[in-house]
């Protein structure tokens, strides 16, 4: 096998940086908006916000096409946006409207768009891991070079499905990237308490695959590591565990009092360690984006999110007949 050139963040083009920054802003502003609207009581059900973890979803999805698949978690808005889901449709879905991506039948925890390779946010912790290897299996059987990415949390790494899926991906050398978003908390319990290991990437050793831990608030680090892992997968070299250390800016769910959080750590995360701020600085210092461009993207995204909210609010609720449609393709 030929030695491939290692990917590097330095290869990032200005165009890519612009896409990355826009996606990060979309996620952040989307989540901030959902946070505010939820507080006003206009959004039904459970909502889990992704704000703070943008560098992970965007840094990974920057290497994917619509033919590649991802599986997601209950904290899935960021993955959807990074994978290219329609933002109007997402917002309408969260509002439970007929124009939602899933016709209002899924909601925040089940946003999906198979046409974009987004196999769904998932209400079950650990469920996405076997699903990801299924998409990998399809690629292998159909002999395509598509890859599957599984986003999962540190909480799911304690679930049996993680070990079953990683083992199977390893023995079958499936084109799968297991991206762990280690935000330090599984619901309200700390990672230190719940996991016997210090590093989730360490599990890779046992399964004889590549494992790596990066700073998940630092987009270039994620971008570079994910680029290499995706490339390995496309070359048929099997799966990778990529652990991204990050932080959940909001609580586990909207309404969480977050008493378990260390205030100093939270302050740092929300300020100097903020993923978007760090990427702005990176892009500026590497002459990928100028201040004007950043301001333009910020404004553009704001208009986009405002439009999504208006779209959702003005959309009708699903028709009564929708209760029992789409249960089966045919019955």
């Amino acid at each position: 096998m030929q030695a491939e050139k290692k990917a590097s963040a330095k290869d990032m083009t200005a165009l890519k940086a612009s896409w990355i920054y826009q996606k990060m802003q979309e996620i952040r502003q989307f989540e901030n908006a959902v946070h505010e609207i939820f507080e006003k009581g206009e959004i039904p059900g459970f909502v889990h916000l992704y704000a703070g973890e943008e560098a992970v979803a965007v840094g990974v999805c920057a290497h994917l096409t619509d033919k590649d698949s991802i599986t997601s978690t209950h904290r899935g808005h960021g993955h959807c946006i990074a994978k290219g889901c329609d933002i109007d449709g997402m917002m309408a879905e969260i509002f439970g409207r007929s124009t939602g991506l899933c016709k209002g039948k899924g909601g925040s925890m089940h946003i999906a768009d198979v046409s974009k390779g987004m196999l769904g946010a998932n209400g079950i912790v650990g469920a996405g891991l076997p699903l990801a290897i299924g998409a990998g299996l399809t690629a292998k059987v159909k002999k395509t070079d598509d890859v599957a990415v599984c986003f999962f949390g540190d909480g799911a790494s304690n679930h049996g499905t993680f070990h079953e899926a990683v083992n199977m991906a390893a023995i079958w050398k499936l084109p799968v990237l297991f991206v762990c978003e280690n935000n330090g908390f599984g619901e309200a319990s700390t990672f230190d308490y719940a996991a016997a290991t210090d590093r989730i990437s360490e599990y890779a050793k046992a399964y004889k695959i590549v494992g790596e831990t990066v700073d998940g608030r630092d987009l270039p680090s994620v971008y570079e590591a994910a680029g290499n892992a995706v490339a390995r997968a496309r070359r048929g070299e099997g799966p990778t565990i990529l652990e991204c250390l990050t932080y959940r800016d909001y609580g586990h769910f909207e309404g969480d009092t977050q008493t378990y959080k260390d205030k100093d750590v939270q302050d740092r995360a929300l300020n100097e360690d903020d993923a978007i701020l760090r990427f702005q600085n990176y892009a500026k210092s590497n002459r990928l984006l100028g201040e004007d461009e950043i301001k333009t993207i910020d404004a553009l995204v704001k208009a986009e999110i405002d439009h999504a909210i208006k779209f959702a609010e003005e959309s009708p609720f699903p028709d009564a007949s929708q209760v029992t449609t789409d249960v089966y393709v045919s019955y």
Binding site: S69, T71, G100, L101, C102, K103, G104, K105, G106, H110, A112, D113, V114, S115, L119, G120, N122, G123, I124, A127, L129, P130, L131, A132, I133, G134, A135, G136, L137, T138, A139, V141, K142, G160, T161, E164, A165, N167, M168, I171, W172, T325, D326, V327, Y328, V329, S330, Y331
Partner: protein
């Protein structure tokens, strides 16, 4: 043109036909080939499933499409679900239906719900083959008949073939259906021989078969219990009672119409089901008939089922546990109050 074939061979035949017809069909499960990476076996299988049902299939299609999995039901069942959602038509074998505890989430929350949760934009053309049934002294964790569990879940289709010919047609229909389908193979029927049409054919879901016509009593048998019902019908005929025996063939969808029309004719219904009696296919059918054919009932609906207890191991106990023609006739005698049957 029909040939005599066992229930087991009918399954093997159906899988091969499906895999020949569509290269997206794969067979995945624990030891569906067996002996993976054993040097002297190469592309040969060792087992072909724990009962040898899929023997020879790996030789025809190779290990790329006949995939042995680790003993990790959640992992491979979840993979099968999403392989289906991303373009394959997997036939995933859950060795014994009793093992569903290890992968219920993948079936109940993932496969069954994708189409609905995602607003009809995803489909999961997955076929789960699984083994059920008591009668082999396999005890409480390898003998259950858990089809009611799946019938309960919207989004799943549930198939309970009672003979080789139905098995082949229903399994082929399952593979090319765009919804997740679970097909129950009664382990005690694997050796059952019957006339089976050669070549590719499908039997649609939700179409019951009237196995025997009659005017005095309707018996609905679930899976293998169709055979028990037919034996009871023979004995009842000797006493002058004509029994209509119905094989629903699929529990979801259920052919309510055929059952209700029969009860309208006979006024009496017994459901024979070797599964547990509570919240079961039998109670479900009883409730539907009680609801939709109340005015036609001329006797209480009777259920002849297993008791509300796990399947016992000891052979005499297991025999007592199962429905039998005698229990059916006793139930009938309670319905008509005819003491002539008490000595049956």
């Amino acid at each position: 043109m029909t040939i005599k074939m066992s229930y087991s061979d009918a399954i093997n035949d159906a899988i091969r036909l499906a895999m020949r017809k569509d290269e997206n069909v794969i067979l995945i499960g624990e030891d569906v080939a067996g002996g993976a990476e054993v040097d002297h076996l190469q592309d040969q299988g060792a087992w072909g499933g724990v009962f040898g049902v899929t023997k020879g299939i790996v030789e025809e299609f190779g290990r790329g499409r006949v995939i042995d999995t680790p003993i990790a039901e959640a992992g491979y069942m979840g993979a099968a679900v999403s392989a289906a959602a991303t373009g394959l038509r997997p036939i995933s074998e859950l060795m014994f239906n009793d093992f569903i505890g290890s992968c219920l989430d993948e079936v109940m929350n993932q496969a069954a719900k994708f189409h609905y949760m995602f607003g009809g934009k995803a489909k999961v053309p997955l076929t789960i083959r699984t083994i059920d049934g008591a009668g082999f002294n396999a005890a409480a964790q390898h003998s259950q008949s858990l089809y009611a569990l799946f019938t309960h879940i919207p989004g799943l289709k549930v198939v309970v073939p009672s003979n080789p010919s139905d098995m082949k047609g229903l399994l082929l229909n399952a593979v090319f259906d765009d919804d997740p389908v679970i097909v129950f193979e009664d382990k005690t029927l694997y050796g059952m021989k019957g006339e089976v049409e050669e070549g590719f054919y499908t039997i649609p879901f939700g179409k019951a078969e009237i196995k025997r016509a009659g005017s005095d009593l309707t018996i609905v048998g679930i899976g293998k219990q169709v055979l028990t019902a037919l034996k009871a019908a023979d004995q009842l005929a000797k006493k002058g009672f004509e029994t209509e025996v119905i094989d629903p063939r699929t529990l979801s969808p259920l052919d309510e119409e055929t059952i209700i029309n029969s009860v309208k004719k006979t006024g009496r219904l017994i459901i024979v089901d070797e599964a547990y009696p509570r919240c079961s296919a039998a109670t479900d059918i009883a409730a539907i008939v009680g609801d939709k054919a109340f005015d036609y009932l001329d006797a209480p609906i009777k259920r002849v089922t297993a008791p509300h207890s796990p399947v016992p191991f000891s052979p005499p106990l297991e025999k007592l546990y199962m429905p039998s023609p005698e229990k059916i006739i006793n139930a009938f005698s309670l319905m008509v109050g005819d003491k002539v049957f008490t000595t049956a």
